[in-house]
Symmetry: C2
Amino acid sequence: MANIFEVPQPDIDLIKKADQVRLASIKISQNKNKNRIKALNFMADYLEKNTNEILDANNEDYQRAEKKGISKALLSRLKLSKEKLNSGIEGVRKVGELTDPVNQVQIKRELSKGLVLERKTVPIGVLGVIFESRPDAVMQISSLAIRSGNGVILKGGSEANLTNTAIVNALKEGLNESGLDKNAICLLTSRKDSMSMLNLDKYINLIIPRGSNELVKFIQENTKIPVLGHADGICHLYIDIEANIEMALSVALDSKIQYPAACNAIETLLVHKDIAPAFLEMAIPLFNSNDVKLIGDKRSVELGLKYEASIEDWQTEYLDLILSIKIVDDLEEAITHVQKYSSKHTDGIITENLGTANKFMNVVDSAGVFHNCSTRFADGFRYGFGAEVGISTQTLPPRGPVGLEGLVTYKYFLKGNGNIVDDFSSGKAIYTHKDF
Amino acid sequence: MANIFEVPQPDIDLIKKADQVRLASIKISQNKNKNRIKALNFMADYLEKNTNEILDANNEDYQRAEKKGISKALLSRLKLSKEKLNSGIEGVRKVGELTDPVNQVQIKRELSKGLVLERKTVPIGVLGVIFESRPDAVMQISSLAIRSGNGVILKGGSEANLTNTAIVNALKEGLNESGLDKNAICLLTSRKDSMSMLNLDKYINLIIPRGSNELVKFIQENTKIPVLGHADGICHLYIDIEANIEMALSVALDSKIQYPAACNAIETLLVHKDIAPAFLEMAIPLFNSNDVKLIGDKRSVELGLKYEASIEDWQTEYLDLILSIKIVDDLEEAITHVQKYSSKHTDGIITENLGTANKFMNVVDSAGVFHNCSTRFADGFRYGFGAEVGISTQTLPPRGPVGLEGLVTYKYFLKGNGNIVDDFSSGKAIYTHKDF
């Protein structure tokens, strides 16, 4: 599948490392909840103990990056202050407080006398995490991996190599002290390794990319391993004819400006033609005073917008203080626009009409369909998952914001006392299919 | 990803058809449970009404295939007797009796005052089903698709084109009479279309292949659409030193011969070295008298097996009355062999020692891990799902035998009264995260 010129085959060293993680992940998966929690606490302890080493390493990374002339945005993400580190350590301990995602019984059923089926959640195995700059991601994702009984292979941005190495060393010391296999966490530092990771489909069960849309898209297109993540967040908000205008203004503003670089911020506002004049009369000055550039279709330009939109605007995730506006004839046109351009992340409607809201929410096929609230709520923490592993825009589960449940799968355990299928064909035995 | 020389891009006609199915699938997805059940009954009625047309079409397909010199096995799968058709029709009605997989509430939670999150199951959208010969599959998969609120694009083997067309015509008449959009079921009949289907990733949400391992492997490697299915079924049974020998013989025999062409039949028997002499002394004549060819490693040849196995034997799904046998030193060696060669479908152990059984079941990473029972139980009907959409050997869900739940996904519905995220940053609102 992958282009071998871009994605090299893993070398023997990498395969050996990956196999160590695989073996360690099997051991971790057998550990009881309390041991995994204990491991997290030791990991946090060692991060505390090694605070100076970690901050020094980060300092060095930062100075090198500065010399190289790396962008300010990247530099600020690279910087690990003592406060950021402490809050990361706190986060590691907090992951221990989450409900154990492993060993949850989903099905328990007698198939026949003496033959009992159980479906229980189990760790996935080995996670491959590829992230850019932010070194705090190492602590977060490693603790989520161990919490859920998985091994993890990490590859961060090379400009943070020293920091990441110092953090991973501390995490491994903690694992080791708690009695778990320290090979369950592995950091790769070369670009070649991070590329050939994509070909480790025999060792890695799930890839979690954390970074730019381009990174995610590249990974999705160059690996056979399942990828948890999304490339685009093109979210819409539709202001219906029966919207409460005040609410519409407040929710639209929040959905756009509360954190414009987030994937759950809206890029396009769809406005019913009959409410458009009144709505835009108030929306234009409101967005202007919040430095939001408005780009609209012909009809909204007629109603006062300065910039006319091209087709590309409907397909663009601005991630910035820019909003495209389109005036639609009715609900149908709004839905058709959403179906065509939505990245299936989150799309919302503002209306006082419950029937209209339900129609929109049922027909729009996005991970999140929202009524009378900001699209910015589409988030694992806000949903109450306690952690967010990623947001998925694929149709099949896991979909939308994914908590710890995205790091486990399930297995069928069938226990009998010599039961054979032939006895059911011959009539000697019958299926009872009784749930416990 | 796909090789464009092998997998052509869909032409305009196919895209138009696929878009019709997509639009129809949205309508079907909005239908209440009782309407979908009504549709199934009308579909069954029209199959009954059109019995003569369908059987005549099958007769013609059969005669053409016979003239072409198609293999007997294929001819027998192609043949649709009146009994087979009737049982297919009965099957369509039975799908109506299954629990509605749609609209199941998985999460219902107050995030904050007046802000309620619901996660509900919804249809996937459009299924793409590619199957070989057996025309009864058309009835089964179409009824499962409609039951779960999906649209379906079908492509069967060309030798069954007339039969499949006659069946699909009846199904569409039934859909239409029940008031649902008949475009929800679409049959493709040309080979070119079946190939370019794999590139319809904008229209098809899930591919379900039904056919040979080669077909499944080809599809998995040539589409970006998720594939529900598995290429191999290399299942193992391990006879532990503490096995009840009589039980071990009975379960091993059932796991091999009850239906050797099934994916859940075992291909390899692993036997603890200390029980091997006693076990093989009885197993060899037993398997011989059931026409099973035994191929073994050196040690088992020393104990009386005639044929010595090569490495390839451990990786081969015979789908036939052939069984490979390997003698292992202990549980660890058995597990290591399974981890290396299992296709992660189903692997079992026979032992009276519960600790040993648990170790095996916990460490072996297969969809099904069985203790003291036949691997042949790995099946959606036997698990009590009422239907089997396919068996998945991937690690992530859906895993193992997949019932109707494999044809639905979920969506997050968030309803508020103007809630904005900024109020939580400013402290004006707080998260309550209370489950209903």
